[in-house]
């Protein structure tokens, strides 16, 4: 059974068909990639998945439960969390607080407990702190937890976004261009980190990525979007050879040239 199942998702913004009957499945234990040229609808798909947009049509099922009409916070509680393409940290909060916000749906302290500072409150707060520090260490930000998020370097901010997303204890992690702006070594260490996450922290990862070396290196499954439609799906090798994919990326003449060479 698939962890995540999208059936015929459509989303239209005015005259623009951002997503047209996209269907996609992410299996348990799989790192899947979503690729496609700019404006293909990849981020729109993420936003629809996480409840920021409501799809016009279609079905979203997660662990055999419909996510349709659910608010973003409920979807996060259900076990999907994400990072953003253009980093969206809470700038004037500390690194630690950023991660702790990610845990909002996992720390169940109510107003009376907070105001009365019950033993339960201290216990949960301590657990949350402990887990946050663990994630900060995992993403290599140890020692920076007291800094304000906007004081971090670009690469550190990307890692903090990852730590924050992991704090929500997701089953499915959505990463929107996690290696954007990274050099080769940084990208390689991120790939290593993603592999380490699998099974231990998350059950599946779906990532949007433009760096083909990363995509082909890490993915078990690749989905290709173009103009809001899904044009191909397969393992990295199949995708590399797929004429529709090459056409979408390089234009219609490219396949002929590729075939000749």
């Amino acid at each position: 059974m698939a962890l995540l199942e999208l059936r015929d998702i459509s989303k239209r913004f005015g005259g623009l068909q951002a997503l047209a009957r996209v269907s996609l499945e992410v299996e348990d234990g799989v790192i899947a990639s979503l690729i496609g040229p700019n404006g293909a609808g990849k981020t729109t798909l993420f936003n629809t998945l996480t409840g920021l947009y409501q799809p016009d049509d279609g079905q979203i099922r997660f662990q055999d439960r419909s996510l349709m009409g659910m608010k973003p916070d409920k979807i996060t509680s259900a076990g999907i969390s994400r990072t953003f393409q253009n980093i969206r940290l809470f700038s004037h909060m500390t690194v630690l607080d950023n991660v702790l916000v990610g845990m909002h749906s996992r720390v169940h302290t109510g107003l009376p407990e907070i105001l009365l500072r019950t033993r339960e409150f201290h216990k949960r707060e301590k657990e949350a702190l402990h887990r946050a520090m663990e994630l900060i260490e995992l993403t290599g930000l140890t020692g920076r937890e007291g800094e304000w998020a906007h004081q971090l370097s670009y690469g550190e901010q990307r890692r903090l976004e990852l730590a924050r997303a992991l704090a929500a204890a997701p089953k499915l992690l959505l990463l929107d261009e996690p290696t954007a702006g990274m050099n080769f070594t940084e990208a390689q260490s991120l790939v290593a980190l993603l592999r380490e996450l699998m099974g231990r922290y998350v059950q599946a990862i779906l990532l949007i990525e433009h760096n083909m070396r990363v995509v082909m290196g890490v993915s078990h499954r690749v989905h290709v979007l173009d103009y809001g439609e899904k044009i191909a799906e397969g393992d990295p090798d199949e995708i590399r050879r797929d004429p529709r994919v090459i056409e979408a990326y390089l234009g219609s003449g490219a396949w002929a040239k590729h075939a000749q060479s």
């Binding site: 996480t50 409840g51 920021l52 608010k71 973003p72 916070d73 996060t76 509680s77 969390s81 994400r82 953003f84 969206r88 940290l89 809470f90 700038s91 004037h92 909060m93 500390t94 630690l96 607080d97 702790l100 916000v101 990610g102 845990m103 909002h104 749906s105 996992r106 720390v107 302290t109 107003l111 907070i114 105001l115 500072r117 409150f121 707060e125 949350a128 702190l129 937890e145 007291g146 800094e147 304000w148 924050r164 997303a165 704090a167 929500a168």
Partner: protein
């Protein structure tokens, strides 16, 4: 060492204030001791002790000599409570609220109507005014009423952002004021622009004990002291509640919404619920302190709750440093002292110069007898101007406020 210096300063300034009970300057020096407590490095326990010493012992003793000191302190306390409430909405959740005084008015009218003969107008039986013993139940009730109205206002408007929300809250406050102003007919609920008076004061439940120890005080001397400690207690409770909320998942969620609403939602923060909670908590503070205000003033009318009051409280929060509890306290205290003492003192001083016929001699410009100053330049008219100038200068040179939120380094 620093602790010793602080103690010396406090002792010296209080001594001055004891000797010169009419001097504004001496009292300002006493007030400045809190500023020193903020800035001078000393062990927190020492600071806490010194702060408590001034607030619980020295200030009331000074107030026993000069009642004006207590009046100032009570006013400061009321504004501190309002600023702390608004700080939650504006500083933590990041929602610009230009009508915060509405909740203050609601609390004040709640006690004013039932704590005076006013309620007899629409409830038959002559039960009103309620006895002073109802004051504390109404204080609790006002928290609930404030939270409820805060949430009710929040429900329809929290979809709005930034400027739009600001305009709606401004409108809300004007509506509330207009309702209180006009609800004297067909049934007289609020007595309209004439206002409500006399409003019952809180019960002097401790008086028998004082008499038991042989201390006889007239009610007129007891009440200011009583209000002082009541306000102090309410402010203290508000600070505790705010600090506990700030340092919890609720406070973190509020700040996350302020920083990036969409990211907060994606991280599992129930944005609408958290915004409503912020509105409700802020409103409940204002409403509770409104009850105190009504009881202290004995008379209230809609004029006390104008748009300028909302703006004044907002200025306190911004000057102090948005999102910072010490900032809100300092901002409220600073602006209140500025308005009630510094600027008043300044215009009194200038007026004194004018009346004594002092001649102002400026190099190159010649000399001007101040007594010939036209009425249009009467010093009292400068007060607002100087206040405005201070606001402008602060925003240019210290836009983050006097005490902006600090990074939390305790962990």
């Amino acid at each position: 060492m620093a602790a010793f210096g602080l103690l010396t300063y406090i002792a010296a300034s209080c001594w001055l204030a004891f000797i010169f009970p009419q001097s504004v300057l001496a009292f300002l020096l006493v007030e400045a001791s809190f500023l020193l407590l903020c800035y001078v490095p000393a062990p927190p326990k020492v600071k806490l002790f010194l702060g408590a010493l001034v607030l619980l012992v020295l200030l009331p003793s000074l107030g026993a000599i000069n009642g004006y000191y207590l009046e100032i302190a009570i006013q400061i306390g009321i504004y501190v409570a309002l600023a702390l409430g608004l700080n939650i909405v504006v500083g933590f959740v990041g929602l610009l609220n230009l009508g915060f005084v509405a909740f203050f008015a609601i609390g004040a009218y709640l006690w004013a109507i039932f704590g005076s003969p006013q309620a007899n107008e629409f409830i038959a039986g002559g039960f009103f005014p309620l006895s002073p013993n109802w004051f504390f139940p109404f204080l609790l009730l006002s928290i609930a009423v404030g939270a409820l109205t805060g949430a009710l206002l929040g429900l329809p408007v929290l979809r709005l952002r930034g400027d739009y929300l600001a305009i709606v809250t401004l409108g809300f406050a004007e509506v509330v004021r207009a309702v209180f102003n006009n609800l004297d007919k067909p049934i007289n609920f609020t007595n309209g622009p004439k206002g409500i008076s006399p409003i019952t004061k809180p019960p002097l439940f401790f008086k028998p004990w004082l008499e038991f120890f042989g201390w006889e005080f007239s009610d007129a001397t007891l009440y200011p002291m009583y209000f002082y400690f009541l306000v102090l207690l309410v402010v203290f409770m508000i600070i505790i509640v705010t600090r506990r909320l700030e340092d919890s998942r609720i406070g973190r969620a509020w700040k996350a919404i302020r920083e990036d609403e969409m990211a907060a939602a994606a991280m599992g923060v129930p944005v609408v619920r958290m915004k409503l909670l912020g509105f409700a908590v802020g409103a409940s503070f204002a409403s509770a302190v409104g009850v105190l205000f009504a009881a202290k003033q004995v008379f209230i009318n809609p004029e006390s709750f104008t748009f300028m009051e909302s703006i004044g409280v907002l200025a306190m929060v911004i000057l102090g440093g948005m999102g910072s509890i010490p900032g809100a306290i300092l901002g409220a205290a600073g602006v209140t002292i500025l308005n009630l003492q510094l600027l008043k003192g300044l215009s009194l001083w200038l007026n004194g110069l004018r009346q004594s016929g002092t001649i102002l001699t400026l190099p190159l410009l010649g000399s001007y007898p101040l007594s010939e100053l036209p009425v249009q330049f009467e010093p009292a008219k400068y007060e607002r101007m100087i206040f405005g100038l201070i606001l402008i200068l602060m925003m240019i040179f210290r836009p983050q406020g006097i005490l902006p939120p600090r990074r939390d380094q305790k962990r």
